[in-house]
């Protein structure tokens, strides 16, 4: 194909300019993608090339954008190390890459936008990260929310093969619906022919994953950042963000804002400025839910200056998660909102571990009782006693996230709880829900 030039002389994006990952306008085909970002940087060949790319990612300070905010380079190095060791020993050598775009957080939309608008940036990242850890196979996992997505991604993969771009064989896989199906061990389980539910770890995927091989699981946005770090370097990446949280990130802003949607920000932007970016409050606000249904409540206006970044939100008692922020209007019951989410989460348990199978519905029941009946001190005590009985007692972190959300609700909405206990439910408890909670056909199983 003549349209694709392989000498990368295209100008790099200005370091301070946003957005980086998602260009406004129509989705970028391969030609437009290479025009915007420049040619694919050299394939990380041999141990030296591999180490160099991982070192760049480390210097950039990139952390995973899927929710855990784990240092990406450490994960890559662990997989590369296991793969190399296994290749010499009796275990099966090689490695596998899973690009995780199965966005099961109902309040998040950023991976879907990224895969729709910039598929080749993700595919660049897949090729480079796979090269860096010595993976010969890659899986791009997506959910089924957009039925046309998998087909378009396959076409993008084919377009690259025709253009002769270096890379690995990429298989596009649609993962079953559900909150825990995109957890990394659940993806490994599914790709190994099992159900898409979490596994008991260790061994973690980086030790033994798909086909018994060391497996690197990265969120698709993380991989897109790797594609840019490989092109423009760690200094360029860190030109936005803060020293503690360098770089940019996609965030999904919802709730009572003028223009809900996906935005790319430099990490560390104050929460109030993010809300302004999303059109400002559409009603007086009382709190934001940061980190999605795995995160926590942050009160407003006290926390308006909280930096939107993993460390910033962690110190505010919430989390960055997959970059979800939902603005809760003042005319709203925080207990009722949280109770609806807990009911949903309880139904999303893989029902493998007892404390999660039985504990989450018990927590959801107690919270619903307090939200819509109130006047029951014993229910409040029961709820508080349940949280430590569920926290960190599952094979995966799903129940821990649900517990953290409830704990933050009891902290931030302590005044609401007082009133519900003394006077019964507030009038706002019967308002329609602000937080999106999917209702699967057939309801709770």
């Amino acid at each position: 194909m003549t349209a694709v030039r392989s000498n990368g002389t295209a100008e790099q994006l200005p370091p301070g300019q946003l957005p980086r990952l998602v260009a406004p306008g129509a989705p970028l085909g391969l030609e437009a993608h290479l025009r915007r970002y420049g040619a694919l940087p050299p394939w990380p060949a041999g141990p030296a090339g591999q180490a160099q790319l991982i070192a760049s990612v480390e210097r950039a300070g990139l952390t995973g954008r899927g929710g855990a905010a784990f240092p990406t380079a450490r994960k890559m190095r662990a997989v590369a190390g296991t793969a190399a060791r296994a290749g010499r020993g009796r275990r099966r050598g090689g490695a596998v890459l899973i690009a995780n775009g199965a966005e099961s957080e109902p309040a998040s939309g950023k991976d879907a936008i990224l895969l729709r608008q910039s598929p080749h940036l993700v595919l660049d990242g897949i090729a480079l990260a796979a090269g860096a850890v010595g993976a010969a196979d890659a899986y791009l996992c997506v959910d089924g929310a957009d039925p046309g997505l998998a087909g378009r991604l396959l076409a993008a993969v084919a377009e690259r093969e025709q253009a002769g771009l270096p890379g690995v064989a990429v298989r596009v896989v649609v993962v079953p619906e559900g909150y825990v199906t995109s957890e990394e061990s659940a993806l490994v389980n599914f790709l190994n022919g099992g159900p898409a539910v979490p596994l008991y770890v260790p061994p973690r995927p980086f030790e033994r994953g798909v086909g018994g091989q060391a497996t690197l699981v990265n969120n698709v946005e993380t991989l897109a950042h790797i594609a840019l770090i490989a092109r423009y370097g760690p200094g360029w990446f860190a030109a936005v963000g803060t020293p503690a949280a360098p770089g940019s990130a996609l965030v999904t802003v919802g709730g009572a804002v003028g223009r809900p949607g996906v935005y790319e920000i430099g990490l560390g932007l104050p929460a109030s400025e993010l809300i302004e970016l999303a059109g400002g409050p559409s009603a007086p606000l009382r709190a934001i839910l940061a980190g999605g249904y795995f995160g926590g409540w942050v009160p407003l206006p006290e926390a308006a200056a909280v930096p939107v970044s993993p460390p910033g939100l962690r110190s505010a008692g919430a989390s960055f998660g997959a970059g979800v922020l939902i603005a809760l209007p003042a005319a709203c019951c925080g207990l009722a909102e949280t109770a609806r989410v807990l009911r949903y989460l309880a139904g999303q348990s893989a029902r493998q571990c007892g404390p999660c199978t039985f504990g989450l519905p018990a927590i959801a029941d107690a919270l619903a009782h307090l939200a819509w009946r109130g006047r029951d001190e014993r229910a409040a005590d029961w709820l508080r006693s349940l949280l430590p009985l569920v926290d960190k007692r599952g094979a995966c972190h799903f129940p821990d996230g649900a517990v953290a959300l409830v704990a933050s609700a009891l902290r931030v909405f302590a005044g609401d709880l007082e009133r519900h206990l003394s006077q019964g439910p507030c009038p706002d408890a019967s308002r329609p829900a602000v937080l999106p909670v999917p209702r699967p056909p057939g309801g709770r199983r």
């Binding site: 008991y200 007892g354 018990a362």
Partner: protein
């Protein structure tokens, strides 16, 4: 006086089916939650309970409980 290697009890919560045998054999370290699933006291298993811990591990009908080495420190 502490042994060179301490041991910790580790539960596979997916394998556990709440038979409760462990709590019966090792009540010093294992209690049951409201749904009958074991809650294990954190930290290393005291030397004087190690034999009992071993018995609890061996008696688990689903092999969900393990006694694992923990590096000293």
């Amino acid at each position: 006086m502490s042994p060179a290697v301490s041991r910790v009890l580790r539960l596979n919560p997916i394998a556990c089916d709440a038979h409760g045998v462990c709590a019966g054999l090792l009540p010093e370290l294992v209690t049951l939650d409201p749904w009958g699933y074991p809650v294990i006291a954190p930290g290393p298993v005291p030397a004087e309970l190690e034999e009992h811990a071993r018995r609890a591990v061996a008696s688990c009908p689903t092999l969900a409980l393990r006694l694992e080495r923990q590096a000293k420190g």
